[in-house]
Symmetry: C2
Subunit: 95 residues, 2 copies
């Protein structure tokens, strides 16, 4: 039976990859007087809804979509949280 799933996807730069945007934001915060901030990294946060027959099918599809389009796995990691729209947590995944 097809059901709706809500996914929260977090795409972050791999730790070995420089983050010039994060460095710029840290500099901006420092200019505003917030000089106690360290290690700022900026990633993407994607929310989407998809329909699938089973949680496993939804998870597999999310993995593929992240690999193919949503994340650049050469420089980025991703992880996601999947929830059935009835709001029961279903599963999480990462790569």
């Amino acid at each position: 039976m097809t059901q709706q799933y809500h996914a929260k996807i977090y795409v972050t730069l791999r730790p070995s990859v420089l983050d010039p945007a994060g460095t710029a934001v840290r500099s901006g915060l420092s200019h505003l007087g917030y000089d106690n901030v360290e290690q700022i990294r900026i990633g993407k946060y994607i929310e989407l809804t998809l329909s699938a027959d089973t949680p496993q099918a939804a998870e597999t599809q999310l993995d593929r979509m992240c690999d193919q389009l949503l994340a650049n796995t050469v420089i980025e990691n991703y992880r996601f949280e999947l929830t059935a729209v009835s709001d029961v947590p279903v599963t999480t995944g990462a790569a």
Copy 2:
């Protein structure tokens, strides 16, 4: 006593604001054959470390930083999770 805190900040477009990037990604996913995806919205995910005397001070500073620089509160909402670096969840906030 100054302690290190780790913050995860989620910046999302307000529901009333159009998300052209999300629409483009949905179209891209559809071209790849994933046409069961709806309501895709793209936001920012920021991780940072800051030092503060108390969790409350860290929370107040995070709120200010989000208002002033990290989020554009005219079109974006933000929420954050704050964790002491000893890994005990401290607090969460949103606006």
